[in-house]
């Protein structure tokens, strides 16, 4: 798969539109989901996804294949989100209804209403984390990047990602263990 992606990148760098279109088809849903979870609405998520791919085409000549295309793409998406957030000067926390609807729209993932409520509560707790820890959670758990890929996308050391994840899990465990939370 990675070799295939590298070949597609090489062809797109050479001007092959079909290869570029194939890359978009493979990755746009993941990038949209990443932005959607972070920015809070569909319109901004769609705009950020377009910006991300615009930057990808602009920087494709400098992509040398040292990391996977997926990691490189998530790094660009992360920077696009950071720039957008800096312009907005504040982030939006996802509403309870959105996470509940997302859980409800995913049949089979959660066995019952109790588990759906617990997941919704957990995801809202993730949104309460500071930006660095939240980015580590999103890239590693939500986007399924490995630790080294997450570190490369964020531009930090792998040990730093481990530390942030550990801190975030401690926080989430504390929040879940609070009285009144249904388990």
């Amino acid at each position: 798969m990675k070799d295939d992606e590298q070949d597609l990148c090489r062809r797109a760098r050479g001007g092959d539109l079909s290869a570029a279109s194939e890359l978009v088809s493979r990755f746009y849903e993941r990038i949209f989901a990443y932005h959607r979870r972070l920015c809070g609405n569909h319109e901004d998520a769609a705009d950020l996804t377009q910006h991300t791919f615009t930057r990808v085409w602009r920087a494709l000549g400098s992509y040398q294949g040292r990391s996977s295309f997926n990691t490189w793409l998530h790094g660009i998406a992360h920077h696009v989100y950071v720039d957008w957030r800096r312009k907005r000067n504040a982030g939006e926390i996802q509403s309870d209804e959105w996470w509940a609807a997302q859980a409800a729209e995913s049949p089979g993932l959660f066995e019952d209403a109790r588990e759906r409520d617990l997941c919704g509560y957990l995801y809202r707790c993730v949104d309460q984390l500071d930006e660095e820890k939240k980015q580590a959670i999103h890239l590693h758990y939500y986007q399924s990047l490995s630790l080294s890929e997450t570190a490369e996308a964020l531009g930090v050391a792998t040990s730093t990602v481990k530390y942030r994840l550990r801190e975030a899990l401690d926080f989430l465990r504390t929040k879940v263990a609070e009285p009144g939370v249904r388990r």
Binding site: R11, G14, G15, L17, E29, A103, V126, Y141, R183
Partner: protein, 342 residues
């Protein structure tokens, strides 16, 4: 709930579905960079169908594109090219330095030649400077002589005015003496007239001493200001008559007042002279180097005249004479409040 359970839930986070039409927008927004020369043909060949005859391109072109070959050769020869450029730049620098060195040598030769001319010019300027300095000294000396001449002319004018004043005083004195004699003949209070006579003699003596002091100063200035006259006879041109050398109260010497200068001798004068040709030093200022020293005195009336031309009458009980380095001075006897003679 442990960490593993939390991680499982996080991994199961729902993925929001992308809106419809986003894919088309993204495909329309694809702006790929322009392919580099050489890679375009290769990409076109790679996308061609299998049935297209591949003989149109030679294998060497496919394996080694033109751009890559130049790049690899350039990378291979970069160290040699760098060294060659460095060597060439060193050669250029050496050439420039050699040119600058030859130019500096030529300028050094020119400066040596100019320095020889400067030495000769310096000697010439030194001679001219010495001549100018000698002229300047001469001018300075003449300027000082001119100032002294002006000063002497001023003093001579003062002496002439004093001489006229003395003549008027003498006339007044004679008139008073005549009146006194007339009054004595008429038998008016003889004691009063005797006292007035003594006072008149004292005043006349003081005038004589003033005349003698002025005559001494004129004689010294006329004799280039360095020495006093050796005797009173030498001042025959400055003292009008020998009568001035006889005190009116000195009855024993009155007969010498009618003598001529040829017949007059230094011992005939009533006044003591306290100089004998010693150095006057009048060039250094009025009255010479010892302006307070006594040059002449009357032992009868205790009238004195100083080297600066001022005359004074003292009370012998309050003042006494002292001699310092052969010169005569006046000093108060007991009264400490009097620091200088009147």
């Amino acid at each position: 709930m442990n960490d593993e359970q939390i991680e499982n839930l996080l991994h199961q986070a729902p993925r929001p579905a992308a809106p419809a039409g986003l894919l088309e927008k993204l495909n329309q927004g694809i702006e790929l960079p322009r392919p580099a020369p050489g890679t375009e043909n290769r990409l076109q060949r790679e996308t061609l169908p299998e049935s297209f005859p591949k003989a149109a391109a030679s294998p060497s072109e496919v394996d080694a594109p033109v751009g890559d070959g130049w790049r690899s050769r350039l990378r291979h020869w970069t160290p040699a090219l760098g060294f060659g450029l460095f060597f060439l730049s060193c050669l250029v620098l050496l050439g420039i330095q050699a040119s600058l060195l030859s130019e500096l040598r030529r300028q050094n030769t020119q400066l040596h030649a100019a320095a020889a001319g400067l030495e000769e010019l310096h000697h010439r300027d030194m001679d001219a400077g010495q001549r100018l300095r000698a002229r300047l000294d001469e001018l300075e000396r003449l300027r000082k002589d001119h100032e002294e001449l002006l000063q002497l002319r001023t003093e001579v004018g003062e002496l002439r005015s004093q001489a006229l004043e003395m003549a008027a005083l003498r006339t007044e004195n004679e008139r008073l003496l005549t009146e006194l004699r007339a009054d004595r003949d008429t038998g008016i209070d003889e004691a009063f007239f005797a006292q007035q006579t003594v006072e008149a003699e004292r005043i006349a003596c003081r005038n004589n001493l003033r005349q003698i002091g002025l005559s001494i100063r004129v004689w010294v200035m006329d004799s280039d200001g360095t020495r006093y006259p050796s005797s009173v006879v030498q001042m025959s041109n400055e003292v009008s008559t020998v009568q001035r050398l006889i005190c009116p109260g000195d009855a024993a010497r009155q007969e010498f007042g009618s003598l001529s200068w040829r017949e007059f001798r230094p011992a005939m004068t009533s006044y003591e002279l306290h100089f004998s040709g010693e150095e006057a030093g009048y060039r250094e200022g009025g009255g010479g180097p010892h302006p307070e020293s006594i040059v002449s005195k009357c032992p009868i009336h205790h009238n004195y005249v100083r080297a600066n031309g001022s005359e004074v009458q003292i009370d012998p009980q309050n003042w006494r004479e002292i001699t310092i380095d052969g010169r005569l001075y006046l000093k108060p006897v007991e009264d400490p409040t009097r620091n200088s003679p009147p």
